[in-house]
Each structure stands twice: as C-alpha cells, then as structure tokens.
C-alpha cells in the first residue's frame, strides 16, 4: 500500500471483490469458452449457422433494433416531459417508469399476452384492423419495448436536467426558433445519452427471455428467439450446440458492453467540456 492511502481496508475489499468476481462470474463464464473449444470448427459452425438458428438471430436482432428505436423516441419524450413540464401526477409517472425493472419478466409476459390476444383489451381492437401481435413476431417487439423503456428514460433524464438554461436563452436571444434551439443546442447535448440508452435497451433486448416466450408463440423459423434456441438444445441434451450458440451471444454482449462503456466515456467528456 502506498503512503497516500490513508484509509484502511484496500487489500481486504479488493481481494474479496476479485475473489467473488472470479467465483461467481469469471470461472463459470470461462467454462463456456473451454467447452466450446472441445468442438471442432465444423461442429461449431454447423451449430451456429443452421437455418433455424439464423432465423432466430434475424428475429432477435430485428425486434431488438426496432424496440430500442421506439424506446429512443418515446423515452426521450417521457424524459423531456418529466424534466421540463409540470403536471398533476408527475411524481407517480416518474416512479412508474421503473416498473419494467421491478416487475418480473414472466409476469410482464403473461400480462402483455392477455392484453394483445384476440379477446384482450387491446387485441380486440387490433384484430379487426388485421393487426395480430400476440403469438406473432410483432408481439416480441411489444415485449421488448416494455423491457427497454426505463434504460433510455433513466440515461437521458439526468443529462436533460443538467443542460444549461443559459445556452437556450442565448440561442433564443440570437433569434433561434424553439425547433432550432432543440436541434442545434439541446439535442447535441443529450445525443450521447440517447445513444447510450439505445445501446443498453438493445443489449437487454437481445438477451431477454422471460417476457418474450409467452407472447412470441415460439414457432421455429418464425417467432423463435435465440435464447429459446439455447433452451431447446439443452432440453434435447445437445450441450455442444447450446454452448456454441451461447458463446455467440456472449461475444455479442461483450462487444455491446464495450460500446456502452465507450459511449459513457464520451458522454462524460462532453459534459465535462461543457461545464
């Protein structure tokens, strides 16, 4: 320990943190890598590129992308309204944003299914219009929108609170319309946060399982998500196949995590330079 560290407990807490991290996270995750190394490359490739698995990637990525985009739009709207305006019930609305964090995913899944089924509160109006969401890929998108909303709101909200009112006043004084002020002053300030929120919602959506399987219908090639492929392979004792697909997902998660970290660093730099 260097002499600058006045506080005790560094070795103890760092040692315990690393020990617990290895025990719970790193060693089990490394099992995934080592088990995959037992496969030949052809076996690995066959497992991750069979048509059914590729169809699941398309659904998982497409639905996650769509859901995260909707979340950016409405997440920004919700964050904007909560930060800038006053209205009755604002505190309740603010608290409710975290509902998807607190509500178990299985409960969200069966509730959304009940709403969107042909005889449900919302489904009964959509069905005559020819829109079927329950047990269809569209339902997956709805579930992923539900899951991802708080990520965008909660990353944009603090940044929006910190934007300097003076800059907007200056823009107005210089003759900018409200739209110009938003596009040229406010939006650039919150863009990194929006991107971070998008990436977080997207990362969460890719791995999501509980809320999706109830509403998806789980038809092979049509509405089967990648995590369900892993479960299916496990149930057939195809451990090698499950491991290979899981490793693919893990790599994607890693890349997204690094991306999110880079985005957050950019955001801190932005707000640091602005202050």
């Amino acid at each position: 320990m260097s002499s600058r560290k006045v506080l005790p407990g560094f070795n103890l807490t760092l040692g315990y943190t690393v020990f617990y991290l290895c025990l719970i996270v790193l060693i089990p995750l490394s099992a995934l890598v080592f088990k995959t190394l037992n496969l030949t490359f052809d076996q690995f490739w066959a497992a991750i590129s069979s048509p059914r698995v590729v169809a699941s990637y398309q659904l998982t990525f497409g639905a996650s992308l769509l859901a995260a985009s909707v979340n950016v739009l409405f997440g920004l709207l919700v964050a904007w309204v909560l930060v800038r305006y006053d209205f009755p019930g604002k505190k309740v609305a603010d608290a409710l944003v975290d509902l998807p964090f607190a509500l178990p995913t299985a409960v969200a899944g069966i509730a959304l299914t009940a709403l969107l089924a042909g005889n449900g509160w919302i489904g009964q109006f959509l069905e005559p219009m020819g829109i079927e969401l329950a047990f269809k890929p569209g339902g997956v998108v709805v579930a992923l929108i539900f899951i991802g909303l708080p990520f965008v709101v909660r990353t944009v909200q603090p940044v929006l609170e910190d934007t300097e009112k003076e800059l907007e006043e200056a823009a107005t004084c210089l003759g900018a319309t409200r739209w110009q002020t938003f596009g040229l002053v406010i939006f650039p300030a919150i863009a990194p946060a929006l991107l971070t929120g998008f990436a977080m919602a997207f990362a969460r959506a890719i791995g999501e399982y509980g809320s999706v399987i109830f509403i998806a219908g789980n038809m092979p090639m049509v509405s089967e998500i990648t995590p369900l492929i892993i479960i299916g392979k496990l149930e057939q004792y195809d451990y090698a196949g499950a491991t290979a697909v899981a490793l693919m997902m893990l790599i994607i998660s890693f890349v997204l995590l690094l991306l999110i970290n880079a985005l957050q660093a950019w955001q801190r730099q932005r707000s640091g330079a602005g202050a």
Binding site: F10, I145, I230
Partner: protein, 308 residues
C-alpha cells in the same frame, strides 16, 4: 433576465420569444407521453389484477392456498434471502475499493462488475450447468459425493446471484465517488479504527443508495425467470420459484391461478417502486438541506446559532 428583455425589445412584438414551448405544445407532449405510459406500463399492470380476479375473490384466494403455490413462495423467499445478502457484502466491498482508491485496472474491474447485466439470463443459467451439471467440470465429482447443485437449491441461488450481481455495487460506486474521502480521512486522523469509520461515517452517508440497491436487487432476485429456469429442473412443489410456477400454471391453461400468483409478484414490484421513490425523495431532501446550510457549517453536527 436582462438578455431576455433586450431580446424582446429588439425583436418585433408580434413574435413572442420564450425559452419554453407554447402551452398547447406542452399539453400535447404530456398527453402523448402519458398515453404511451398508460398503454405500455399501466395496462399490463392492471391486466394482471383483473385477470387474477376474473372469477371472483374466492377463486383468487383458492389459487393462493394451493400447497404448490406455497412451496413456490417459500422457495422464492429462501433464494432471495441468500442471494441478496451475498451481493450486499460484495457490493459494499467492491464500492469501497473502487470508489475510495486509485489503482491500475480500476476501469477494467468496474466493467467486469457490470458484465452480468449484459449476459442473457439463459446464458447465465447455462454456464452453471456447464460447471456443475452431469456433463460439467465438477459433475462426476459431485455425483460421487452425492451433492446436488444443478436442479436443486444451490444452483438456483447461484444463478440468482449471477443475474443480480452488479445491482448494489452499481448504486454505491457513483454515490461513494461523489462523496469523496475527506470525511473518512478526518475520522481516521481523529483516531477512529477502520470499522468505526465505516459504521459511523461511510454507512450513514450511503444509506439511501444502499436501500435503493437492495430493494432493486431483491425485486430482480424474486422475479428472475430465465436463469433460474435453466437450472431448476421444474419439479413441482420442490424446485419451482414463483415465476416458474406462474409459467407452469399458465401453460396448463389455469389462467386465474397463474395470474393470482403473478399478482403477488406485481404487488412486490409496486412495493419496490414505492420504497425506491421514498428513498429517492428522502435522499434529495437531505442533499438539499445540506446544500442550504452555509458553507462553513456543512453538517447538522455543528450546533446552529440561536435565532433570538
């Protein structure tokens, strides 16, 4: 203010200049945002309770009295009761070393702590099957010694610990970083031991962040579905947690019973949100009170001057 008056005098009076939107724009945006929230957040929540009570209060209570439901509730409480304290101790240790010290690889360590957030719950369950399962690294040894981890309680606890791993650490690290080290250093210089410093200085300062982290960690621990589903084995009345029991009932078309158990989980979510909001408001109030004190008297410990 001055700028504004100048601006309004130099520009023609016909165009109103302001730094906010016209009321009709405000109310349209508020309406859109609340409409979206009603559709995506409030309706699903309401649907849980309406579906649970579809056949009346008696059918609802009947569904909750079932022994399998009770077994699921008990198992869920046991798992959360083990997983949350484990992650609490880890969260405090991790935030202490990450927030209070500078060392090489700190950014990397912080990223690793966050890692379980971005791993799919299904993958989280699978990795423990690969370590402890019949075909896994320790499988043969465990079978010889007759220890069951996968398809039993220990595996479910491990999977839950994994998915809730960063919750508490993540709340505490930014909070402790923003508070700095000065108060702890003062305590040490005044002769307090490390533990005394932690109990009397650090813990009171991070109280709200701690409550916030524990409550969210607990909600996730009780509600986890994917990871626990992989390692549970789905033995009714034995290794089914509440979310898994909901799935079993739902797939058996026992809709009322499924939504009845789900309604308990929804209540848990609502209680979580209430406690979380109260903790947040309380924390904000304390921060505001501290900020309003004159800078030379930053804390309540200093006796206030009499206003006679």
């Amino acid at each position: 203010m001055i700028n504004k008056t100048i601006a309004s005098t130099t520009h023609s009076n016909a165009r109103r200049i302001s730094t906010t939107e016209a009321p009709w724009v405000q109310w349209t945006l508020i309406g859109l945002a609340l409409g979206f929230m009603a559709l995506f957040l409030v309706m699903p929540l309401l649907a849980v309770f309406v579906e649970a009570l579809r056949k009346g209060g008696e059918a609802y209570l009947e569904a909750l009295k079932e022994p399998d439901a009770w077994a699921a509730i008990r198992l869920t409480l046991i798992i959360a009761g083990i997983a949350v304290p484990l992650n609490l101790v880890f969260g405090i240790a991790a935030s202490w070393c990450i927030a209070k010290y500078e060392f090489k690889g700190k950014a990397f360590l912080t990223t690793l702590v966050d890692l379980p957030f971005s791993v799919s719950p299904v993958v989280a369950g699978l990795i423990y099957v690969l370590v402890f399962g019949a075909q896994g690294w320790l499988g043969p040894w465990l079978a010889q010694h007759d220890i069951k981890i996968i398809f039993a309680l220990p595996g479910m606890v491990l999977a839950t610990v994994f998915v809730t791993f960063p919750f508490i650490a993540r709340e505490l690290i930014p909070l402790m970083q923003s508070q700095g080290n000065e108060e702890e250093q003062a305590a040490i210089v005044l002769g307090a031991s490390g533990w005394q410093t932690f109990w009397y200085v650090t813990l009171p300062n991070m109280k709200w962040g701690l409550i916030y982290g524990v409550i969210l960690c607990n909600a996730r621990a009780m509600g986890e579905f994917g990871a626990v589903s992989v390692v549970s084995g789905h033995i009714r009345g034995q290794t089914n947690t509440m979310p898994l029991h909901v799935e079993v009932l739902y797939n058996e078309y026992q809709s009322v019973a499924a939504f009845a158990v789900a309604s308990l989980l929804a209540l848990l979510a609502l209680v979580t949100l209430v406690i979380k909001s109260v903790a947040e408001w309380q924390h904000e109030r304390e921060l505001k009170a501290a900020a309003e004190l004159p800078p030379e008297r930053p804390r309540d410990e200093i006796p206030r001057p009499h206003l006679a």
